[in-house]
């Protein structure tokens, strides 16, 4: 028997990258929808209602997303544990910063920080959603006064300064994770080209800085609005 693709170091690296790409796409659409909440509460409500009730998204895309997150997480930790075990005797003197960036060397730390945030995020939004929709059986997306509830729920979460602080911090970690992860995913699937790789690296830096920054600004916007009114 030859070595299975998903057992091999190269195969796992490719799978890690593919799940990473998927999560990058997910994050981007999440960002677009969040941006709506600043522009128009109604539009945000409509889109949230669609995302929350469309069967294709609920029963196909959502499970894939969950699988993607869990896969990326478990594989990442498995690889890290294996990697840690490959050097039983450490160097007495080592200068890792001479040849590799902090981000590239600490993907597990930044990844775990993002994971902790996801825990909070699930607690805040996903679990209540599941509860309302599937346990209480209320698929209407309406609140007691008969309006779509999503924008109001969002605002509610952004009233607590500690939550907003944690939210911002998490996105800083996400940014650090993406600063390496974006371009690394391309390298892993074998996309390295003298002409295009520099462009991908720039694009990756833009994505890694501006998407998390966007999330942070949206949170601050709602926090600010809440304080004023």
């Amino acid at each position: 028997m030859s070595q299975g693709f998903s057992k091999s170091s190269v195969g796992r690296k490719i799978l890690m990258a593919l799940s990473g790409f998927f999560l990058l796409l997910f994050l981007f659409q999440h960002f677009l929808i969040n941006s709506l909440s600043v522009i128009s509460a109604d539009a945000f409500n409509e889109v949230s209602f669609f995302m929350g009730t469309n069967p294709l998204i609920q029963y196909l895309i959502q499970p894939i997303l969950l699988f993607g997150i869990i896969f990326h997480l478990i594989m990442g930790i498995t690889l890290e544990l294996k990697n840690k075990s490959t050097r039983p005797i450490p160097y007495a003197m080592n200068k890792p910063s001479e040849n590799a960036s902090w981000m590239s060397r600490n993907m597990v730390i930044t990844g775990i920080m993002v994971l902790l945030f996801l825990g909070l995020h699930f607690y805040d939004f996903w679990i209540p959603e599941i509860k309302t929709k599937f346990i209480e059986g209320n698929m209407s997306g309406l609140n007691e006064s008969g309006e779509l509830r999503f924008h109001e729920e969002l605002l509610h979460k952004f009233t607590d300064p500690i939550r907003v602080g944690l939210y911002i911090l998490s996105f800083v970690f996400l940014s650090l994770h993406l600063l390496h992860g974006f371009q690394s995913a391309f390298q892993s699937v074998g996309f390295n080209h003298r002409k295009y790789t520099p462009i991908i690296k720039k694009l990756g830096n833009l994505y890694a800085i501006f998407i998390p920054l966007g999330f942070i600004l949206i949170a601050l916007f709602h926090f600010h609005v809440k304080i004023r009114f």
């Binding site: 160097y91 003197m93 590799a100 390295n192």
Partner: protein, 252 residues
């Protein structure tokens, strides 16, 4: 200018010994010396004092054989770039400096004695697929009879300049041998002579690499920086493509 240095050197009697860092002083080191010549001075001192000299690997002493190694002051082949330890000049150091000298550290490259590690894991990877089939029946064709696109020949040559020193493994936080294996897979993949075993080569070499207990690449890029021969990460990407392409159609 001559220098006096403090050396902290890893001493280990044999593979079983626990080993430890031992401090030595060397005096009157010329900045024109190579790093290995400085170690020769140390060893001469030790021999004169009836002590066991420090064992380290070396052969050509001109950066082509890949025998020399050493993790010097926290970096594979020391602080300079694009050089092996034998090409490292003492002018990279300052008078009075303390220099840490350690063997490559990786489970797959165990220490045999002092600063010498067993790199046969790299050879076993090479045996698993780093070869081509040639007709040796007496009418062997001249390799130059097959025309090769210049840019492909250049890339093959770039990949083939890997000297198998193992610095990529030593410097990688994951002890990954991907840069080495990528160079060895790539050098043949560009050439017509390498096509026959192309798919098996990459699968077998990657499998052997994993069996030897090297870690997984996370694209930190440290290997490319420390590699004395400037082997590019492009080759790792190429190996990943080769691997994917081979695996997806493989019947095994």
């Amino acid at each position: 200018m001559n220098m006096n240095l403090t050396l902290k050197v890893w001493r280990q009697k044999n593979a079983q010994d626990k080993g430890k860092m031992v401090e030595y002083k060397v005096t009157n080191i010329s900045d024109h010396m190579s790093f290995l010549e400085m170690l020769d001075v140390l060893n001469e001192d030790l021999v004169n004092k009836n002590e066991e000299p420090v064992a380290f690997d070396h052969d050509c002493r001109e950066g082509i054989c890949g025998m020399c190694s050493l993790h010097i002051n926290g970096e594979a082949h020391g602080p300079d770039r694009g050089v092996t330890t034998c090409q490292l000049h003492m002018r990279m150091f300052k008078d009075g400096q303390t220099i840490y000298i350690e063997p490559w550290r990786a489970k797959a490259l165990p220490v045999i004695k002092d600063l010498i590690v067993d790199r046969s894991a790299l050879e076993r990877i090479q045996h698993a697929g780093g070869y081509i089939s040639v007709n040796t029946s007496g009418n062997t064709q001249d390799a130059n009879a097959i025309l090769i696109r210049k840019s492909d020949a250049d890339k093959a040559m770039d990949a083939a300049s890997c000297i198998g020193c193992g610095a990529c493994v030593a410097t990688c936080k994951n002890s990954s041998a991907m840069l080495f294996v990528a160079a060895k897979v790539s050098q043949f993949s560009y050439l017509p002579q390498g096509q026959i075993e192309r798919k098996e080569r990459v699968m077998n070499m990657v499998e052997q690499m994993d069996k030897e207990g090297f870690g997984n690449c996370t694209n930190t890029g440290a290997c490319e920086v420390e590699c004395p021969k400037g082997i590019s990460l492009e080759f790792i990407a190429r190996m990943n493509r080769e691997y994917f392409g081979a695996k997806i159609v493989s019947e095994k």
